[in-house]
């Protein structure tokens, strides 16, 4: 099976496999989005608040949180995945399969989104904090009634680009048995030279990313009244 074949043929031969691979990628990406939002957002807010010039400077907390983000992000992703194998085994009993493979991606997703969150908050006008403090807002009120209200469209936009990075990272997880669309492209395109199938797979990924980007941009605009 070398080179090119009709697209219809490819679909009838491999449609089921493509669907399974897409499902696995979807799982990995969705799981990363979830941890990015649930853990990455608070971590980014923490870094923003506790930095030396921040609202509540706390050197130790800031240093630790900041170091986590910097270190995890500086790892080439493939090395990080390999580096995490012992930890993944400890938690899941195996480092194989979609669920276990997603584990290292979660750490990276948190780090990426925490940094993006911090950057968005840093770009908000300084008058916002002046208003919050002079109105006697508590720290939670400052976060929920000022920072997140003004930062929400930026946060959605950043989550969109983070998601697109997660799609890319998820393909690397194919190497450690995570499956997904990247693994699929590797198996057929790289190992079996089935170019039709490989390009088809790439086209599907590109289409998914375009839909994601369009949706993210729209939602971000809808949330922004500034």
């Amino acid at each position: 099976m070398n080179g090119w074949e009709p697209i219809g043929q490819v679909f009838s031969d491999h449609g089921g496999e493509i669907a399974v691979a897409l499902g696995e990628t979807g799982y990995m990406v969705l799981a990363s989005i979830l941890v990015a939002v649930i853990l990455g957002t608070p971590l980014g807010i923490l870094i923003y608040l506790t930095r030396p010039e921040g609202v509540v400077p706390r050197r130790t907390v800031w240093t630790i949180a900041n170091a986590y983000v910097t270190i995890v992000r500086s790892f080439p992703f493939l090395l990080f995945v390999v580096f995490m194998i012992p930890v993944t085994r400890l938690v899941f009993g195996t480092s194989f399969g979609t669920v276990a493979a997603t584990f290292p991606l979660g750490f990276v997703a948190v780090a990426i989104y925490a940094r993006l969150t911090e950057q968005i908050l840093l770009e908000l006008p300084s008058g916002l904090l002046q208003a919050a403090e002079s109105l006697g807002a508590t720290l939670p009120q400052t976060v929920f009634r000022f920072l997140l209200v003004e930062g929400r469209s930026g946060l959605v936009y950043a989550l969109t680009s983070a998601t697109i990075s997660f799609v890319s990272y998820s393909t690397v997880l194919g190497v450690v048995g995570g499956g997904g669309i990247g693994d699929f492209a590797m198996r057929y395109g790289y190992h079996q030279y089935d170019f039709t199938l490989m390009y088809l797979t790439i086209a599907i990924i590109v289409a998914c990313v375009m839909v994601l980007q369009a949706a993210g941009t729209r939602l971000s605009r809808a949330l922004d009244h500034r």
Binding site: L135, F146, V149
Partner: protein, 253 residues
């Protein structure tokens, strides 16, 4: 709603206040040995060039900054004696209006005005509506700040500052970002605020005209020192057009 009950203590009293900022080995004196009183129900100008220490003075009044030496008393209470919770409670009684409005851009006019109430877990749509009417924004409650002119945005900021019926209103260069016509409208609104609610107003500005238009007294600062306190002559024609009309109508009858 009037704040004319106990007249004993001044609204704000500075007693030998200095504020020195230190970074590394260098120090900068923002305020040097300032003693002054802001009488209740007055509109008190704080005049000076940039770097004169005006903004520091305002931040000392709502406890966002603390004196290096001396005491700041608001409503008779030494701010140094207040814990962080009490300071927040104090800030709920002190409105602040900024040069660049500092509104929440993703909140409607209504939500911006209601924000100080929400921070105290209160909801009072009637109060929000009546204060919006007072500042002249009734028809604009569902708009967003970006859809308003600078003058309208400053009206929102004033409404936000007044919604909790503060005893003291701090204005930090409230008209410096506005054109001449809008400036005089905003100043008239501040004058009307004092008339209507009996609010004490501290007006930080570098604009002499603003002080002349509405202040009773002005403290003049230069490089952190209080040079003098000047009382501004009451200008009957500017302050009381209705009174003047009345006089005219009586005399020409």
């Amino acid at each position: 709603m009037h704040h004319d009950q106990p007249t004993g203590a001044a609204a704000v009293h500075f007693d030998g206040v200095s504020r020195v900022f230190a970074s590394g080995t260098r120090t900068a004196t923002a305020l040097h040995d300032v003693t002054l009183s802001i009488p209740r129900r007055s509109i008190f100008g704080i005049l000076g060039e940039s770097g004169a220490g005006k903004t520091t003075l305002l931040r000392l009044m709502n406890g966002l900054d603390h004196p290096t030496s001396g005491r700041v008393l608001v409503d008779g209470t030494d701010l140094a004696s207040l814990g962080s919770r009490e300071l927040r409670a104090l800030r709920h009684r002190i409105g602040v209006v900024f040069q660049h409005f500092n509104l929440v851009g993703n909140a409607t006019v209504q939500a911006n005005i209601a924000l100080p109430l929400r921070l105290q877990r209160r909801r009072d749509t009637e109060r929000v509506a009546s204060i919006a009417e007072f500042v002249g924004l009734s028809g604009l409650l569902s708009r967003y700040p970006a859809e308003l002119s600078g003058g309208q945005q400053q009206r929102v900021a004033i409404a936000r500052a007044l919604v909790t019926d503060p005893m003291l209103l701090l204005c930090d260069e409230p008209t410096s970002a506005l054109d001449t016509h809008t400036t005089s409208e905003i100043l008239q609104l501040l004058a009307a605020t004092r008339e209507e609610f009996g609010t004490t107003i501290a007006l930080v500005t570098h604009e002499l005209d603003a002080v002349r238009a509405i202040c009773d007294t002005a403290a003049v600062f230069e490089q952190g020192s209080l040079l003098d306190t000047v009382s501004v002559p009451t200008r009957v024609e500017a302050r009381e057009p209705r009174y003047l009309d009345h006089v005219r109508s009586v005399l020409t009858r």
